[in-house]
Symmetry: C2
Subunit: 287 residues, 2 copies
């Protein structure tokens, strides 16, 4: 059993991880670290963590598992900071949205990846920060682990067990496949939602836009309220996979544009009916 | 006071209009007509309408107001069918999503538009059909009327009063502006949602797509479950305005694509932050 976990970045994800473990009866110690003392103090006050250090090196010294819940752009520096202060068998895992880039960062910092287990919990809320943490944020949600060839089986097993304690369903997949799948189902939609809001904002007032779009437009653009720093980082970290699916999307959209131009009712009906079938089927078979 | 209303097409919109009027104490008679007797019988059984005729000419004979709640593609034929059976002062209004095309249809059928008041209630549900009707579907929602230069003031006033009885907020605007605004806030998002689901379905299984996208993707693609016939009709009826905003959107998206390609973090941050600001502001100032 892992006796001490150190969470770097005790925000929504890190905080919810800690809360869920505590709720499930995790008997070890949970240490927090990060850049903002105010946030760490709040985490302590809320009972999310057992203690905190502003000094990252000190915070990880006794950790048997370290969870990096920091922005993608901060991964490499964070890994480099803790590198020489980890116990020899300490497991390092993360919660970042792009796995290929995390592995690349880890490879540049560590000599071997035996104890590195890249991970990505697919869960979130519109709110962020440690006070938005929920002990059931991961319940029934998927956590994807993308072990490298070097990852030790025991390390993968330990990370899996912890996530399962939070109520999550753990899946193992290749990092490239994870990145493609997330580019398609999460990163692309975010980029499109941001773009559509900006397109409309160039022509109309904000209150006009949301007045006439009814409920459908609110749902459609909800993800355009996401944290711009986080989504900038994701676009940079998962650049290749996002560009690939964006390209496929633009070709599909051009086809529809041509159908509208040509008043091709049959083509439009086929495209829309197929989309409805896929969505209705996909949403019924899950959750 | 209008003593008889005839609703052509007693589905979700027509049915909810009738139910809301009845709830508000409308004292006149509400007659239904349409193509499917089964649906009209259901409307009668549910108390949505007071009587029905399968014969459209007969159904409108005594009407002082006729509401066309039929697909955009059926507007012109429906107008032509009832034309010679209307009372001289009967008001004709509709619930279609494109106003320019409805006015074009009306112009081709009628010699003058004195009693024609084009309208569009901005409300809907995922379910359709008369059994999905709600007496509060229009409560607090916007109904846009786009009178032509020929529309008689009294006719506009009558239609306004009826919609206000349903709890709706009536706005008057130019048909072209309505079509542009709706193309931007409703038709464009639907086209994009259909397109994104199809793009993903070309590469992945339906259940895979919705497994990894978490809640955000479900919200984002909810409108891709819309009725394909209705959305085909809207794309054909509001062709010009949709193509115009689609073009602006594609240019905006290309800019973002270039930023991702060039690892332009500053540009991406600016675009995303602007979008978040617009959405947060727009959604807070309304509802």
């Amino acid at each position: 059993m892992i006796k001490q976990i150190t969470i770097i970045g005790v925000g929504l994800i890190g905080g919810s991880f800690a809360l869920a473990l505590k709720k499930a009866g995790y008997p070890g110690k949970i240490v927090g670290t990060g850049r903002r003392e105010e946030s760490l103090q709040k985490a302590l006050d809320l009972g999310v963590i057992d203690e905190y250090y502003l000094n990252m090196e000190q915070a990880v010294k006794k950790a048997e598992l370290v969870l990096l819940a920091v922005p993608m752009s901060a991964m490499r520096t964070t890994l480099a900071t803790i590198k020489n202060h980890l116990q020899p068998h300490a497991i390092v895992t993360d919660a970042g949205s792009s796995k290929v880039s995390f592995i690349r960062d880890a490879e540049q910092v560590f000599n071997d990846l035996t104890h590195v287990v890249p991970g990505h919990p697919i869960a979130g809320r519109e709110k962020s920060g440690v006070s938005a943490s929920l002990d059931n944020l991961f319940k029934g949600r998927r956590v994807i682990l993308t072990p490298t060839e070097g990852s030790a089986e025991l390390a993968v097993h330990s990370v899996t067990s912890l996530w399962e304690m939070t109520g999550a369903v753990v899946e193992i997949m290749a990092p490239e496949y994870h990145d493609q799948m997330l580019a398609a189902t999460s990163h692309l939609p975010h980029v499109l939602a941001y773009s559509v809001v900006n397109t409309l904002a160039d022509k109309y007032q904000a209150d006009e836009i949301f007045r006439y779009g009814a409920g459908g437009f609110r749902d459609f653009t909800r993800i355009a309220s996401g944290d711009p720093v986080m989504w900038r980082d994701i676009c940079l970290a998962n650049q290749g996979a996002i560009l690939e699916i964006l390209d496929a999307y633009q070709r599909n959209l051009c086809d529809i544009q041509t159908m509208i131009q040509n008043s091709d009712g049959e083509g439009l009906y086929k495209a829309f009916a197929n989309s409805k079938k896929v969505r209705d089927h996909g949403c019924e078979s899950d959750l």
